[in-house]
Assembly symmetry: C2
Homo-oligomer: 250 residues x 2
Amino acid sequence: MIDYNHPAFQYYQNVSEQCIHYLSIDGVIFGFHQNQLKVLLLRWKGTDEWSLPGGFILKAESVDLAAQRIIRERTGLQTLYLQQFHVFGETIRYNSEETWRKINLPVQGINWSERTISIGYYALVEYAEVVPTPDFLTEECRWWSLEAIPNLLFDHNHIVEVALQSLRKNVSDQPIGHLLPETFTIPELQRLYETILGHSLDARNFYKKIMAQENLERLAERRAGTPHKAPYLYRFKRSPSGINDIPSYT
Amino acid sequence: MIDYNHPAFQYYQNVSEQCIHYLSIDGVIFGFHQNQLKVLLLRWKGTDEWSLPGGFILKAESVDLAAQRIIRERTGLQTLYLQQFHVFGETIRYNSEETWRKINLPVQGINWSERTISIGYYALVEYAEVVPTPDFLTEECRWWSLEAIPNLLFDHNHIVEVALQSLRKNVSDQPIGHLLPETFTIPELQRLYETILGHSLDARNFYKKIMAQENLERLAERRAGTPHKAPYLYRFKRSPSGINDIPSYT
DNA sequence: CATCTTTGCGTACTTTTGACATAAAGGTAC
DNA sequence: GTACCTTTATGTCAAAAGTACGCAAAGATG
């Protein structure tokens, strides 16, 4: 028995007509807050089950723009740094019966349970700028610390894992600065690198390396309110061309 | 007027029923011969137009296995080193009218001209082991030197370019040795690195670095027939676990 | 004002990288 | 055979990059 009024059914109708079948996008949205990497997760209506934000690609929409649209809707951000990182194309990516049961979808009758190939994108965003916004299948959208992530729906734990590996592998040429606010201190930047890399760095050597890159400008102000010596604030130099070049620590 | 007997039409019928729409795989098969990187290209029946090998994904087939199947069919190789490198998802990837004209396909009536998203894979194969085999839309399959590649159909010149960039970026953790025969000399390995990286290396320093990795074993034999000092033959050590670990030059 | 922690910069040691010397091996020219 | 040439195989050494660690200045606390 199909509940034709269930929002999921209407969504499915839309997707069927306007979107590309068998293919979806999953987004791992990375933020940085209180010295921890966070990802934005969604809780499905009437359940305690969480998943990554995701969506489908319109038949006349580029894949990059689809990812941008999907992640914009969950974050409220207009400009986004996005990186395609992997295609998850196994025929059996997760236990689908178990999954449909968990999310209470009255959609057994429709073929939503067919295999889906998912293109993984990760985003590097400024935590404080994000307005977490659920979609119409979910009722809560919030940040989770990477270490505290629960068992997610689908194969989303695996996708987060691969996204993180990919981010780690490419830290040296990713614009890591997108995870920080406009101005920040060197120790704050160091915490970010430490968190991504998963090990601590020597503050003195970190200074030297970061300063050697000459893409930071020191502001006159210092960070107030710290219990110890007030650190200077810095900002990434923007290249005159307007292209983001926030290089990074190798 | 549609020629229902044209092999392309029958192929399309098959693809429509059994494969995932809007989604395809393109393969950049790299080989190494006479100190040059080569890619395997196909010439379309009755034309002088060349393209990369490609194909579609069966509805119940993993994407990796689809890529493997497609590349196996063109090379005759059973074991393959494959690497997914990019999804080409623009809505307009090439001039489709021009392309259909070039390949003389009597398929105006069917919607083959709809946008296709393509997953790019590259393969590293041993040149001499490959038996180039055309498919039923093409009549010639052969190696082309990277520098001599003609204007290809679709956006395949771009795909080759991106594959090469990706290979270059990841040389340091790709099993480059798959491009060489079982046994080879150090100078031959050096030529391979030089060709991929696009610049020459100092033979003395190359030796040191390669030997420091300790994953080569020197055989008793030497390469005969050279006009100069006969170099030793080497072979990559296979790890006891059976997993390929052909590390590489950084 | 003494104490504590953190920032900011400097020095010394180690490892890696890059430039270059040279002897041994194996062919060719005579 | 012998002189000569090219290429392989190893070695040396200095520059550069990376790592460990010393220490004074800044700012809050008691």
